[in-house]
């Protein structure tokens, strides 16, 4: 049952095949493309600030899929039907977390290649940026899932989730972008640790949230 659920969730959220389309990735590349136009083509300035811009773009791209992530299936009664078949809310949310990350983490990492080229990020810096995004996107996905589940039953949920994600994602941003400034791998370890903790927490928090949403 869990594999059927994962397949369904992936089909739902995957770029190009699902209804979610490739919007977050396109958005991500668009930011990287616009930035040189805004600050000018000076390669030094771009290389110095580009990494931070990529991180901010990734963070904003993480907000885009949140609206449909949980609320839609609550309205459908989808989670209720699974519940009747003995699937725990935590399991539903764990599967959703995997599907959500797969549908936006790896595409974002791939999109970093053209984005880095546009921003003149090369060598060691590029490597740290890539590793940072690989370590950080699961955490962003976990925060996103928790927020989506918590705001699912609110009318202004979509707007609110964007606002909520930003402060919660700050630790990932600070260590991820900080690793670029100092060119070290220790900060990357912190990004990975924060991500792991969030990934471990998210299914339980989101599961409790959709259980609570049922009661009203």
């Amino acid at each position: 049952m869990i594999t059927a659920l994962l397949r369904r969730d992936l089909a739902q959220f995957f770029p190009f095949t699902g209804s979610g389309a490739a919007l977050p990735v396109v958005f991500f590349v668009a930011v990287a493309m616009l930035f040189p136009f805004a600050v000018g083509p000076d390669a030094n300035v771009l290389a110095k600030t580009g990494g931070g811009v990529v991180w901010i773009a990734a963070l904003l791209a993480a907000i885009l899929p949140l609206e449909k992530l949980v609320a839609r299936d609550i309205e459908l009664g989808f989670f209720d039907q699974l519940k009747l078949r003995g699937v725990a809310e935590e399991a539903m949310m764990a599967v959703r977390l995997i599907a959500h990350w797969l549908s936006f983490g790896p595409p974002l990492v791939l999109a970093t290649f053209p984005a880095a080229a546009l921003l003149k990020i090369e060598g060691e810096t590029f490597q740290i940026l890539l590793l940072g995004l690989i370590a950080g996107t699961p955490g962003l996905a976990a925060i996103g899932l928790m927020i989506a589940a918590l705001t699912a039953s609110l009318r202004a949920g979509a707007a609110l989730s964007g606002l909520l994600l930003i402060p919660l994602a700050l630790p990932i941003l600070i260590f991820g972008a900080g690793a670029l400034a100092r060119q070290d791998h220790i900060s990357l370890g912190f990004v990975g640790a924060i991500s792991l903790a969030l990934v471990a927490l998210a299914p339980f928090a989101a599961g409790a949230a959709i259980r609570a949403a049922r009661e009203n």
Partner: protein, 201 residues
């Protein structure tokens, strides 16, 4: 399917919506083969009762004892609106290990709609699709919330037939509907009988 026969027992159930008590001291016992029709006006608490019996919400007081797997039919179909009906149902048939998906769809006259995305279906067609999902589940206990709304007369009598067959096979059906159903031996109660006095105050 299971060794022990199914049963559904509500004991002294009370449910609220917001601050308002909808019903209290509601008790019933349904054994294998029993069908029960809950009637009541809109907003009287039929859906609340069904969801509490399903275990989806916590009742304000009392308890529900369930024996056997539950199948729930409600206004929300649980079918992906963007998928063609055939694939949306195939997901649930797969989850429920339903072998006769095609036969179920034929029974509910859904084959012609297999390629139509769920969001384009009419209310009655969606209801029939949800019924197909319930049939595929082959659960001994059926909880049907307004199974007749939106259906034409042919489909309405089909619902009665399906419930009858389900109960003859030893299943249990709890049906909340303000419309009449033709199932022999079915018990009936109005949810208003359990409304607290002065509920409107």
């Amino acid at each position: 399917m299971q060794v022990s026969p199914p049963s559904l027992i509500a004991d002294n159930l009370a449910c609220r919506r917001g601050d308002r008590l909808l019903f209290r001291r509601l008790s019933f016992t349904l054994e294998a083969g029993a069908a029960c029709h809950v009637t009541g006006a809109n907003g009287a608490g039929k859906t609340t009762l069904i969801r509490a019996v399903a275990g989806l919400t916590t009742p304000y007081a009392g308890s529900v004892t369930r024996n056997g797997a539950l199948a729930l039919l409600e206004e929300r179909t649980g079918l992906d609106p963007d998928l063609p009906l055939g694939r949306a149902l195939a997901f649930w048939f797969g989850v429920d290990n339903a072998a006769e998906g095609d036969a179920i769809m034929a029974r509910l006259r859904l084959e012609a709609l297999a390629e139509v995305p769920v969001r384009y279906l009419s209310t009655g067609q969606k209801k029939r699709a949800a019924l197909a999902r319930v049939l595929g589940q082959s659960a001994p206990v059926w909880l049907l919330d307004e199974p007749l709304s939106g259906l034409d007369t042919v489909s309405q009598s089909l619902v009665s037939t399906l419930v009858r067959e389900h109960c003859e096979a030893g299943g249990i059906a709890l049906i909340a509907s303000h419309q009449p159903l033709d199932v022999p031996g079915m018990t009936r109660f109005a949810i208003e009988e359990f409304a607290p006095h002065g509920a409107d105050a």
